[in-house]
Symmetry: C2
Subunit: 305 residues, 2 copies
């Protein structure tokens, strides 16, 4: 089996797209007409929630499939519905995987090594159960938070090597207060630069045949100057770039995030895709999401080509 970075490159070329659809759906933002179509008064509120959350997101995946290289599931939006939401996430992960999409778990997990191993078991590897090993999820990659340092990241890296998976470590995030700590000066560097240097080290034994590391970084599209600097520190890592659109990141700036081959990025868009019906065809969310993903894909391609 190919390394994660090689599979990603293959998919990007095949799809001619670096766009990732972020599946961050809250039930409150699903159009009323769709809820009415699936809501069954004979069933419990929770059963309706599970059905509608799955059916809506499944259709979004169908609608955008042609225009995206993968999908990223934001854990929080499923966790907000407790284990019911996690069950839907499980089904959607399988659904997207069967469509040969690159599937990312955006959970920003972090902990001491014994606990980090638990997270890695769940999302990248396998969990021992009664002497057998069970693969619960089939994600290709996960996002992690670096604050605990190397030993909290190592269990994920080991599973990346063993199971040919990918890791995206938070380096410079897209949110307004990302500078609170990430922009602190450590001697003559920003903290995010020190983190990026560690990401380089952590990933240098997971290089695919195309020369890219399976350990990448999350860098917000809103962080232009940081993006340029991180690109220098991580010349052969993929950057997962969220934050275009609603959050204020500009597609035109993406040319500063790509590497010397005009590669090495995947770009997430969530709300502009999953709720595109608010801006496009109100009565047809699938068509809207298709049009939005096509338009975003094309503008990204124009910006980085």
């Amino acid at each position: 089996m190919l390394n994660f970075s090689d599979r990603l490159i293959e998919s990007i070329k095949k799809k001619n797209s670096v766009l990732i659809a972020g599946i961050d759906t809250s039930i409150e933002n699903i159009p009323d007409y769709f809820i009415k179509r699936f809501y069954d008064k004979e069933k419990s509120e929770i059963d309706n929630l599970k059905t509608i959350l799955f059916e809506y997101n499944r259709r979004i995946i169908d609608a955008v499939e042609e225009n995206v290289v993968g999908v990223k599931f934001q854990a929080a939006f499923f966790e907000q519905y407790s284990y019911h939401g996690f069950e839907v996430l499980h089904k959607l992960c399988e659904y997207a995987k069967n469509k040969k999409l690159v599937v990312i778990f955006d959970g920003k997990r972090n902990d001491i090594s014994s606990s980090a191993k638990g997270y890695s078991n769940a999302y990248l590897g396998e969990t021992p159960v009664f002497g057998k090993k069970i693969r619960f999820f089939e994600f290709d990659a996960i996002t992690t938070n670096p604050y605990l340092g190397q030993d909290g990241i190592k269990p994920f890296i080991e599973d990346c090597e063993r199971f040919k998976k990918g890791l995206f470590v938070l380096v410079k995030t897209s949110n307004p207060s990302s500078g609170d700590f990430q922009d602190l000066m450590v001697e003559d560097k920003y903290l995010f630069e020190v983190v990026a240097e560690k990401v380089y080290e952590w990933g240098k034994n997971c290089i695919g045949k195309e020369g890219y590391s399976d350990v990448g970084a999350v860098v917000g599209a809103t962080q232009l100057e940081a993006g340029k600097r991180i690109r220098e520190i991580l010349p052969n890592s993929f950057l997962l770039v969220p934050g275009i659109g609603v959050q204020g990141g500009k597609v035109e700036d993406l040319k500063y995030f790509v590497d010397s081959n005009n590669m090495g990025i995947i770009v997430n868009s969530s709300r502009d895709i999953i709720y595109a019906y608010k801006n496009y065809v109100h009565s047809d969310f699938e068509k809207s999401s298709y049009l939005a993903s096509k338009s975003i894909k094309e503008s990204i391609n124009a910006a980085i080509s």
Copy 2:
């Protein structure tokens, strides 16, 4: 309803204990005789897993109840079993809550504000579903990671205020490589000190009638010098202190973590309690966990009195 810090102080006084039992159970560490007792060949592997994970931890909670002020559930150990593990976590949270224990979700969650809100909805607050609001979990407090800065923490703080809940922000963790970033010098301070100062700011509007903030910090028992310094920066916050026992933290050092009232800490022990049968009475895990929790409680009380 009382603030989280006030409820915590009330419980500490009632129990004469600052000990928290960390429920970090992997099915592979549950004694064979217990698994055999509950394993039903007519049922699926997953149903057996759920039953045994619940029944074992439920008995641990019963066994230690008298000696602990609360329980902390390590999310990773439940997540490693996917949504099945989360369902067990949900039942155990309810079970512990009904025993009036302080119940903490140790998930170290973090994200941009819209996603952080999802996590906070799940564990501290309530989630909108079809126009109603559902409380999925009844946790008293959650752990969070500060790397994204203030706007990733704010949704949790707002729910702390609204629902009288608590927050423990990672400041200095117990693991060997916690120094990779946390000990970097930012001008004349360690990064963890800068984080502690922010925690002070974030918590200064959530003060209970006893004068303690509902926003506390996670500080590893292995971090003696950091602990002293963080205590100075956070004179009226609770410190959640993991890392005694297996991880190498010493109970005697806890006297440096308490505040001027010999208060302001809760101390987590996981493996020494949940797997105490390995060190005590092999054939009786409940008695073993009872004895271990009693002994740890007493040595902590002796160290900080």
